[in-house]
């Protein structure tokens, strides 16, 4: 198993009016062609960890960071490589499906255009390829010039996936990508993610234990900015090492407790409705 991405002693502090340590000395590895789920109660540092993986947290002011993130063997902080290039290689899909203010076609073509010179014919081919990859092509091929913002939320989230894939990242970061979707759209995005992990390394934040069980190969559990446990998915849910993990996955006595944890005992087949 190759490590695609890893953090080493990563500490992130927000130094605004109130100083908050969002991540405390976190070292964790993400394996190639696996889907790693990051779980934990709200405000535990999940999003901060995810954004630190492509330095997206740097667009906010007042953030201090120490430690390092390695993409393969290459450090992404102590590097001369331009930031946009790092972010191209580590794609990001936001929690709330958000269209760029462009047509459906150009939402996908945007990344291709800024990162290279493609002929119109090449662009057409690539846009089609990535829309097919997220199972959206059939639904939108007759209205590629329509605004991306006019798609339904579920379609829009798949458009966001296609857009991120189009720049050919090595790693894909997905921040609770199904939480804003209705159950049916969520299921189709999940299906897409399952297909994608054959080719990509995916890091996903989720609030749903069941989703983590269904999709993840590995689970990372954060609590109050600390890494509690990172383990293979079966081991994590069957034989958790930490007492805190046991409490969290059974939904007991953890602050910001997860809303889907009551459903734990239900069979996974009905779980798509519980998102």
């Amino acid at each position: 198993m190759t490590t695609a991405l890893k953090t080493e002693n990563l500490t992130i502090t927000y130094t605004g009016k109130r100083e908050v340590t969002a991540l405390n000395d976190v070292s964790v590895e993400f394996n190639e062609n696996e889907l790693t789920a990051i779980i934990g109660p709200s405000g535990c540092g999940k999003s901060t960890l995810m954004k630190s993986l492509n330095r997206l947290h740097e667009i906010q002011p007042n953030v201090d960071i120490s430690g390092e993130v390695y993409l393969g063997t290459q450090p992404i902080y102590a590097t001369d490589e331009p930031l946009p290039e790092i972010r191209r290689r580590v794609g990001y899909v936001p929690q709330k499906p958000t269209a760029l203010p462009l047509s459906i076609y150009n939402n996908v073509a945007y990344g291709l255009k800024i990162h290279g010179n493609h002929s119109k014919a090449e662009l057409d081919k690539l846009v089609k390829k990535y829309l097919q990859k997220v199972n959206l092509w059939e639904e939108v091929n007759d209205r590629l010039d329509a605004p991306g913002a006019e798609l339904s939320t579920g379609q829009l989230q798949r458009l966001c996936l296609a857009r991120s894939l189009a720049v050919e990242p090595d790693v894909l970061l997905c921040d609770e990508v199904t939480s804003a979707l209705d159950p049916i759209s969520a299921e189709s995005v999940e299906e897409t993610l399952k297909e994608l992990k054959e080719e990509y390394t995916i890091v996903m934040i989720t609030h749903s234990m069941n989703q983590a069980k269904r999709l993840a190969d590995k689970v990372v559990f954060l609590y109050l900015g600390n890494l509690v446990e990172a383990n293979d998915v079966n081991q994590f849910f069957e034989k958790p090492e930490s007492e805190r993990t046991k409490q969290f996955i059974s939904g007991q006595g953890v602050v910001g407790e997860d809303e889907s944890s009551d459903e734990e005992k239900q069979p996974a087949t009905t779980a798509a409705q519980v998102l």
Binding site: N54, L56, I59, Q60, P61, P84, E85, I86, R87, R88, G91, Y92, V93, P94, Q95, K96, P97, T98, A99, L100, P101, L102, S103, Y110, G111, I114, H115, P147, G148, A149, E150, T153, L156, C160, R163, S164, V167, L173
Partner: protein
């Protein structure tokens, strides 16, 4: 007072005030049309006829010189102000400047916005005297651009601020540079920015005080960038006080032209902004 009476009263007040606004606009348009009608309706060509030699005295000819003066001054001024205000507004977003700097600059912009336009006029006049130049189209453009700049910047800044953070994140997440992200943000904010530009343009084309000392009160066709010129508001200002009824009628006709121009512009911009609004992030989801 009973709650329901209170509600009815307030409803009445709200409707009455809305009606008042529409009523005032209708009255202004009809009065200018009525008073300028003799000139404008019998001979709409006054707006494309050059002034006669004794124009200010007997109203012979038309006011093409002021129509052209207005266009030649306000269009380039608006273009300059758009460029400056967009750059400033993008700078004010936290990517480039700190929160504190933005606050301070915004305060200055508010002061500039509140500054009476005659002050800008006098300021540019001082410059004209200092460099030993004369009033001209050029200085009119400069004065109007200075006048429009704070208005447009505040509007643009607000419009950019209302773009959801997720758009920036999505853009940066794809590996955009700051500049590319700024372009995406501007596109998202375009309906709001267009609104600001139109307000700026309308304020610019309607203002007399800024151009009075800077472009001049020429009664000739504009001759060049560094020649004196005049605008419709100055023409109205000069002619409305004339003892000759013919000349006064021209002032009303010019007012009518000005109002219709601004109205047309605002309607056109609404249509334009609506077209871009479809592309705005969130779209129908927000």
């Amino acid at each position: 007072m009973d709650r329901y009476t209170e509600q009815r009263l307030f409803g009445l007040l709200a409707r009455a005030s809305a009606a008042l606004v529409v009523g005032v606009l209708a009255m202004v348009i009809s009065v200018t049309l009525y008073r300028g009608g003799r000139v404008f309706l019998t001979d709409p060509a006054v707006m494309i006829t050059p002034p006669g030699s004794r124009y200010m005295l007997d109203g012979g000819g038309g006011f093409l010189h002021a129509v052209l003066g207005s266009i030649f001054i306000v269009v380039p001024a608006t273009a300059i102000a758009i460029l400056l205000s967009l750059s400033t507004a993008v700078f004010l977003q936290s990517d480039y400047s700190s929160e504190r700097t933005s606050e301070i600059i915004n305060m200055f912009l508010n002061v500039l916005w509140g500054t009476p336009p005659i002050v800008y006029g006098v300021f540019v006049l001082t410059v004209i005297i200092a460099v030993g130049a004369q009033t001209s189209l050029f200085f009119g453009i400069i004065a109007i651009a200075i006048f429009q700049y704070p208005i447009m910047t505040r509007y643009t800044d607000e419009a950019l601020r209302s773009v959801p953070g997720a758009v920036k994140e999505a853009s940066y997440g794809l590996g955009s540079t700051r500049f590319e992200t700024a372009r995406i943000t501007i596109r998202s904010a375009l309906p709001g920015i267009v609104a600001g530009v139109i307000i700026g343009f309308a304020r610019g084309i309607g203002d007399a005080a800024t151009v009075l000392f800077t472009a001049g009160r020429s009664t000739q066709m504009p001759g060049g960038l560094f020649e004196p010129a005049t605008t419709l508001p100055i023409l109205i200002f000069e002619q409305a006080a004339s003892f000759n009824a013919e000349v006064r009628a021209h002032a009303y006709a010019a007012s009518f032209v000005l109002i219709i121009a601004v109205l047309t512009l605002i309607i056109a911009s609404k249509l334009l902004a609506g077209k871009y609004a479809r592309f705005a992030p969130g779209g129908r989801h927000s």
